[in-house]
Assembly symmetry: C2
Homo-oligomer: 323 residues x 2
């Protein structure tokens, strides 16, 4: 996930404490249970649970390498894979040889870089509305959301799930690259419907509801909603990277938080892909990698009693109502 | 181009001197003119003309970077682009900003690596026979040649040319990745037909005819046939790389020779793509880059009176019969 939705998310984070009470009122009927998500997961009500999630696996060799290295430190617990991207076979091989890895699908309806692009998994004839004039997926989530036919979107994300499974990936969760599937109620309904049918949890967080008010009504009693999301944004200066994450962990509230990071090495490949785009660029991803694999992060989690969890644990709640 | 055809080529090269006379007899009627190709290009009959050609542009950022750097030394004169590959937009941008660059299309019907793969330009529904069971192009030229429907092949290579033109590439020539379009008479006829219609020269060399005897009959009076090909092969030890090319240049005969090289840096991206495959792998491509951009190569060309030319010059002969 990148850009727009994260823009929404960070704004929410700024108002997180005041918004918390509001969100409780906004929750769908299924979320009004007195049992919190933390309790449903078997932890005490005051537990601080954290998913450290690497987005964009499959997009590049550098991203795959950095994510695998980070997963193997144990400090990054989860990741999600972009099925239409050319490095899918490399991360699929990792998924097959590491069936315990917590890997989901980063459902992809955009191709956002200028030097390096990809198309859909579906035959283009079956999803013409997903393509821009150059024959690739749209560059932005706004353009994509404005032009895509909903039936073609649904067919494409089903095709992405099918291709992942055909390559031996057993996804633990779903989310949406650049938040495209969170851009409208109609798109969100597709994500929810496909996730339900596949009995998979998907990225959704209470702190999104005040800016995407259509969301609660789409959710049913079986959907699991995380409590909040942490995602760094371009307004953080590079030298403040560690401080941002440190402050977030130190002030972490009880509940389940999804910390979304974008990992890669600042090598020639990543520089080539993100050319002219410092936001979510090579140095950004290297800084994320450096922080989440650091001893400082490990120590911080311990000192603040933060327990790392995965989407696999969340997935076990699917099919069990929250009451 | 890689592998099989080059296997043919090097075998031919071993017999190049004895084969030269034979090939002259084998030439198609159009090639029986007393004017040699060198003379038709406006050079004295004893001129030694060399195209130094980088294959596989568009496949990777490292390949694009190395090829662009090598083209800008002037020692590599030409290159060809793989249209279905994800780094096409990067090399297309270079082509648009360098309209003088001698860039052709490396028509691509295979996707040969294991970690990193691509599909066709055509909608998959229109070219199902081009895809293997995982939905990408076949891994080898043999599998591709055995399974591809000829109409779908022709439609796909037309689509590759159309996409290249849509992105502002004005190709100067055509050739075939891994030699797939040279694997049978029927495939070769498609290459020749499409090249003719586009008024483009294509890679074809007299020294291939003894191993691909169907070729001369397919050629018409307007086709331009180069005299020979140089392409290094796996039987050359890494420490003998310079010696191989040096010996080839020192013994170069009059005529037009196409020296095919595979350029990239031996960086993480190239190592990731060519993982487990030292042949045409990262170190191979770095060695090719090192040699063709070296002062030693420049000096060697000068000392041996080798004149570098491009496919653009060859293309000017198209439409003019050889008589």
């Amino acid at each position: 996930m990148r850009r727009k939705l994260l823009g929404v998310t960070v704004t929410l984070l700024l108002f997180a404490s005041s918004a918390a009470a509001l969100h409780r009122k906004d929750r769908s009927p299924s979320q009004t249970s007195t049992r919190t998500l933390v309790e449903r997961l078997g932890y005490p009500r005051d537990a601080k649970l954290l998913i450290v999630h690497a987005d964009d696996l499959g997009v590049a060799h550098s991203v795959n390498s950095a994510a695998i290295k980070a997963l193997e430190t144990g400090l990054v617990t989860s990741g999600s894979i972009m099925v239409p991207c050319p490095w899918l076979p490399e991360i699929a091989a990792y998924a097959r040889s590491h069936p315990e890895a917590d890997l989901g699908l980063h459902l992809t309806l955009t191709s956002e870089w200028s030097t390096y692009r990809w198309g859909p998994v579906l035959s283009k004839d079956r999803a013409p509305s997903l393509l821009d004039s150059s024959g690739y997926l749209y560059s932005s989530e706004n353009e994509a959301a404005a032009h895509m036919d909903l039936k073609e979107v649904e067919a494409e994300i089903r095709a992405q799930i099918a291709r992942a499974r055909a390559l031996g990936i057993q996804p633990t969760h779903l989310d949406s690259h650049m938040g495209t599937l969170y851009q409208s109620k109609a798109l969100f309904e597709i994500l929810v419907r496909v996730a339900r049918e596949n009995k998979l949890p998907f990225r959704i967080s209470q702190d999104w509801f005040s800016r995407a008010q259509f969301m609660p009504a789409v959710l049913g009693p079986d959907e699991v909603v995380l409590d909040r999301t942490i995602s760094i944004e371009p307004n953080v200066a590079p030298e403040d990277w560690s401080k941002f994450y440190t402050d977030e962990i130190k002030s972490l509230q009880p509940g389940v938080t999804d910390m979304i990071v974008h990992l890669a090495f600042a090598d020639e490949e990543t520089k080539g892909i993100t050319f002219g785009h410092p936001e979510w660029g090579a140095e950004w991803r290297q800084r994320d990698f450096n922080f989440v694999t650091s001893d400082a992060f490990r120590k911080l989690l311990k000192e603040n009693n933060v327990k790392l969890i995965t989407w696999r644990e969340i997935g076990k709640l699917i099919g069990k109502t929250s009451h």
